[in-house]
């Protein structure tokens, strides 16, 4: 893939190149994650689950995908 066809994002602390025009919903699904079981933080703001579909990931975005794990 050439540079023109991808955008750079910071995903869970790592630089990634993804296709432009991808929605958060599509990004989550492309990672084989269930959107119902995760929370998305986009540029330090929590993104409501019902906005996943309409929100596009842009160049330079910081995306955090979090979920619950075992803890005390």
């Amino acid at each position: 893939m050439s540079d023109e066809q991808t955008i750079n994002v910071r995903l869970n602390g790592k630089d990634r190149q993804i296709c432009p025009g991808l929605s958060v919903q599509a990004l989550v699904e492309s990672l084989d994650l269930n959107p119902q079981l995760i929370v998305v933080e986009l540029n330090r703001e929590i993104l409501r689950r019902d906005c996943f579909g309409e929100t596009l990931v842009s160049e330079g975005d910081q995306v955090e995908l979090v979920h619950f794990v075992g803890g005390g």
């Binding site: 995903l11 869970n12 602390g13 790592k14 990672l31 084989d32 994650l33 269930n34 079981l37 995760i38 929370v39 933080e41 330090r44 929590i46 409501r48 689950r49 955090e64 995908l65 979090v66 979920h67 619950f68 794990v69 075992g70 803890g71 005390g72």
Partner: protein, 271 residues
């Protein structure tokens, strides 16, 4: 107090002695963590054996290089266990608030175990930052169970800002040292009106029992069960210890004295 048949007392307790906290009723006074288990099947079995009414979970990044099954919701059903997200690992009020909001966005409820650590070696809480975060989160509608030191003044202030429970430590997280200062725990219980849940430091069943004998409302533990050779067996032991300590507290112990007093009659002995 009149003598009550222990069996009926236990039965009555199951009905009458449940804990009400933050407007919610809990059928068990034992709360357990879900971390550090060797495998998920053992975790689920141990949690069931503990009889707990609430389990804690942590908020973390999804590890995109690993299987999605590391998520706790693949193993525990939120309809079966009331899940209490924590802010473990946070060292500032700001971080704890960020994690709290993420936890609430996961969509269960507004309950949170607030924990702000102040020191990496002892994992002792930063009580000032905890208070600061508690104020903000209570204003945002969170029901805060606040992990804190065994310090009365902080406990009172956490209650003042509106926490639904104050959770002083028995001893440092994961230490298994038991209650290092029972007097402070008792004093916190005497002076606060909100439920007091002792969180962290219990090592084995006797520690849990001693903690409940101080009159507190419940105990939260993780490592003591997860790191036992047989976590399921230890979970069962803890369940009994919590009940036993609670019953002993309610029954009222005899006065301790450093002198022997015979239990059998001194009169009527043969020549």
């Amino acid at each position: 107090m009149t003598w009550t048949d222990p069996k009926s007392m236990t039965e009555n307790m199951a009905i009458d002695d449940s804990l009400v906290m933050g407007g919610r009723q809990f059928g068990s006074r034992l709360f357990v963590g879900t971390g550090k288990y060797a495998d998920n099947d053992t975790m689920v079995e141990a949690i069931r054996a503990s009889g707990t009414a609430m389990v804690t979970v942590a908020v973390r990044r999804v590890d995109l290089d690993r299987t999605k099954e590391e998520g706790i919701l693949f193993h525990l059903d939120p309809d079966e266990f009331f899940m209490l997200p924590n802010t473990a690992g946070c060292y500032t009020a700001e971080d704890a608030i960020r994690y709290a909001r993420l936890a609430r966005a996961a969509g269960f409820h507004e309950w949170l175990k607030l924990e702000v650590i102040g020191d990496e070696t002892t994992l002792l809480p930063d009580t000032q930052a905890t208070l600061e975060a508690a104020k903000v989160l209570v204003d945002e509608g969170f029901k805060i169970m606040a992990y804190t030191n065994d310090d009365l003044i902080t406990a009172l202030r956490l209650e003042d800002v509106g926490c639904v429970a104050v959770m002083p430590l028995a001893s440092p997280i994961g230490s298994g040292l038991g209650v290092v200062n029972p007097y402070f725990i008792r004093e916190i219980k005497r002076r606060c009106e909100v439920p007091i849940i002792v969180d962290a430091g219990v090592g084995t069943a006797s520690d849990a029992c001693v903690t409940m004998e101080q009159g507190v409302d419940g105990v939260l533990m993780n490592t003591a069960i997860a790191a036992a050779d047989d976590p399921v067996g230890m979970a069962h032991a803890m369940r009994l210890a919590i009940q036993s300590g609670r019953l002993a507290y309610l029954a009222g112990r005899m006065e301790a004295r450093e002198i022997a007093v015979p239990s059998s009659p001194t009169r009527g002995m043969l020549d």
